[in-house]
Symmetry: C2
Subunit: 212 residues, 2 copies
């Protein structure tokens, strides 16, 4: 299996965590987003959307991180990344989608570039933009967890799809200078995840293509 | 079951289609987005994110349209909204997420309001913005379907989660003045769906809260 990704992409980071949690070995392939390699004809074969990640499997390419992670969860049974109970599973997916649909796509590279280049947005505006969606999103995430205050992780005592989405988003928030003290539970969950090798090994700074 | 929605919300529209396809009866509850009712304390109990939809079930509230639709699919078996084969299921989910993560959240009301009010974006800029994400997204959607050119629907001869996401996005594109002729297959799928009562009955203009 080959994962096309970029060290700092939240969506690729999610897939690395899921692969590590499942103990599935994969070959990484690096697509340098800042150099525009995601728009090369060679890469568009794997993902016509021109975004990372893409997962090359024996049956063909898969795209979109949540679809890839659900596929991993269905293909490699243990440990499960979603709870068995349908209602709780829907709550985990809902939490994940707050991040994957309503925070991350607003703050990714192509959108920030469009704001800067096409709408002449200055750095003050960009900073306001980035923080707004993280603040609104994390407020919702924290509220959605209030029914489940027990576990060290988002939903109970093992990491799930929710934690897989939360950790890269907290990393990104830190990078954008967001003060996490408003959401102590999210910070605690982040810390609990970071203590696990599956999360730590997937960290952007531990990837071979990290050029920071 | 009670669905909190708004006639013109793409995400609520998706849920209405899924409920209709499953033949599940539900009570609609109307949250007037332009009047800001989604931020009322009474509504935030159901969805702390302050967005529609929310589905009130016997076991509690569910949020995020794709999580709600997956729950419906797991709870009411027929007709299935996802294929049985895991790889094809991942492709259907990937297609749905191009729309649900990378088109729709960029063009929803809260984001357009922020561009207008906080970043002083004028109507020319807003038009460019709205069209850009639809064009990029539909190009990707059309390319992702090239492996499956057979069915009247996105993936084969019955509507799936992919069609459920596509139809509200095409409705929205038409509303924003996007010329669909660049994607004849997407338009054909839209027409095939609109001929089904489950889709037609879910159309924004057929909702009791439509005030156009």
């Amino acid at each position: 299996m080959l994962l096309h990704g970029y060290f700092r992409s939240s969506a690729a980071y999610r897939c690395r965590i899921a692969l590590n949690l499942k103990g599935v070995s994969y070959e990484p392939s690096f697509v340098h987003l800042r150099r525009g390699e995601q728009r090369s004809p060679a890469y568009l074969v794997h993902n016509p959307q021109g975004l990372v990640p893409a997962l090359e499997t024996e049956s063909g390419d898969l795209t979109q991180s949540l679809a890839i992670i659900e596929w991993l969860d269905e293909t490699f049974a243990n440990p499960p990344l979603l709870p068995r109970d349908a209602h709780l599973r829907a709550r985990v997916r809902g939490f994940a989608q707050v991040i994957a649909a309503d925070i991350h796509p607003l703050n990714n590279l192509r959108v920030l570039n469009f704001l800067r280049e096409e709408l002449q947005c200055d750095e003050t505006g960009l900073d306001k933009w980035r923080k707004r969606w993280i603040l609104e999103g994390f407020d919702a995430c924290a509220a959605l967890l209030q029914l489940d205050p027990e576990g060290p992780f988002c939903f109970g005592d093992a990491p799930s799809l929710a934690d897989i989405c939360l950790v890269p988003q907290v990393y990104s928030a830190q990078r954008f200078g967001v003060d996490m003290s408003a959401w102590p539970r999210l910070q605690q969950i982040f810390d609990a995840c970071e203590a696990l090798p599956a999360f730590a090994d997937a960290h952007p700074h531990n990837q071979p293509d990290c050029d920071l």
